[in-house]
């Protein structure tokens, strides 16, 4: 099981690639200038499909990564999730503290 991109509809917005927790969506090194998922490290998290503005990423049960790659993919994803969540919450907390500070200063 893995996700696949319908390249005929992909607009290369790069969103899926930046969100993929296992870094398994490729663009720059592709022969065809379109985003492509390397199924070996795809952990079926569905994140790419949810952010794609073109709805052109779908689940493909027939594509199956080998067990070792999948385990490596999961490890990458765990590290990514920890890191990304920390950063997201960090930026949000920082922004909120700034808005509160400005409100306190009465401007």
């Amino acid at each position: 099981m893995a996700y696949v991109i319908d390249q005929s509809r992909c607009i290369n917005c790069s969103w899926c690639r930046r969100e993929c927790p296992t870094d398994t969506i490729h663009y720059f090194d592709q022969e065809v200038r379109k985003h492509k998922i390397d199924p070996q490290y795809c952990i079926d998290c569905d994140i790419c499909a949810r952010v794609c503005p073109m709805d052109c990423i779908s689940h493909e049960p027939a594509v199956v990564p080998d067990a070792q790659s999948l385990a490596a993919g999961k490890m990458r994803a765990r590290a990514w999730a920890r890191d990304r969540r920390q950063l997201k919450l960090g930026i949000r907390a920082y922004a909120e503290s700034q808005v509160l500070k400005i409100a306190r200063n009465g401007s």
Partner: protein
């Protein structure tokens, strides 16, 4: 025989001093006023402003100004590209990029009106410059394909993600006009990215070495983003008061 575009363009130097008025160019008083408005001039960047706008709609205005800055740069970049590369690229590419220049000027007008809708106007906030300026690019990188590669991923591709994120935020917070304009804007950027992709392929077919160099330029941009993220992480860890915990679930 028609004269080349270069010759038809007025030969006087079109130079603004400084070309962009960034926070660095402001007087100390102006910097102070900006810092008071935004809680510090370091907050004048789209990533932080987006989260501030989520909390308080007043911050949509500086956020839109940061986008407007990029649109101005788009006009600059593509306009210059048309004139500078006319002899090196097929004429229909010149035509496509000229059309893109026109699109960028429409985006500029769109965002200027949007800024007014949000109670601000051009001049209230300074320019934001992301990525290298044209004058910083070494001469050997001034190849049309490499220039295009940089801008295609740094300006146009990045715009796709940014506009979609701002549209989603505007929708969540009831800023219908912002959501509408960014949806509209995004449609043009889709065409721009596609045009860039198409011409990168074509130009690389004529000169295969361009493909590798273009890829390297794009990857350089990606690693810069990663670096900015890293810097943001350490900066925020150092300056967020510990009592400030964000509301919501972090999505």
């Amino acid at each position: 025989m028609t004269r080349a575009l270069k010759e038809r363009v007025d030969s006087r130097e079109a130079k603004r001093e400084p070309p962009y008025r960034t926070t660095m160019e402001l007087t100390p008083e102006q910097q102070k006023a900006l810092a008071e408005k935004l809680g510090g001039i370091q907050n004048y960047n789209p990533v932080v402003l987006r989260e501030m706008a989520r909390k308080d709609r007043r911050f949509f205005a500086p956020l839109i100004m940061s986008i407007l800055s990029a649109e101005f740069r788009g006009i600059d970049f593509f306009g210059r590209f048309v004139v500078d590369t006319e002899d090196e690229v097929p004429w229909h590419m010149t035509l496509g990029v000229a059309r893109q220049t026109f699109d960028e000027s429409r985006h500029t007008l769109l965002n200027m009106k949007l800024l007014e809708h949000l109670g601000s106007s051009v001049g209230e906030y300074p320019d934001i410059i992301l990525g290298p300026q044209r004058d910083d690019i070494p001469p050997e990188e001034l190849d049309p394909a490499i220039l295009l590669a940089r801008v295609n991923v740094a300006l146009e591709g990045f715009a796709l993600t940014t506009f979609e994120e701002i549209r989603a935020l505007a929708e969540q917070t009831g800023e219908e006009m912002v959501a509408h304009c960014h949806d509209y804007n995004m449609a043009d950027e889709v065409t721009h990215v596609a045009l860039g992709d198409y011409w990168l392929e074509k130009l690389s077919q004529v000169q295969p070495w361009r493909k590798e160099r273009a890829r390297a330029a794009q990857q350089e941009f990606e690693s810069n983003i990663a670096m900015v993220r890293q810097m943001a992480r350490s900066y925020m860890a150092a300056s967020t008061p510990s009592e400030a915990t964000p509301s919501g679930n972090g999505n």
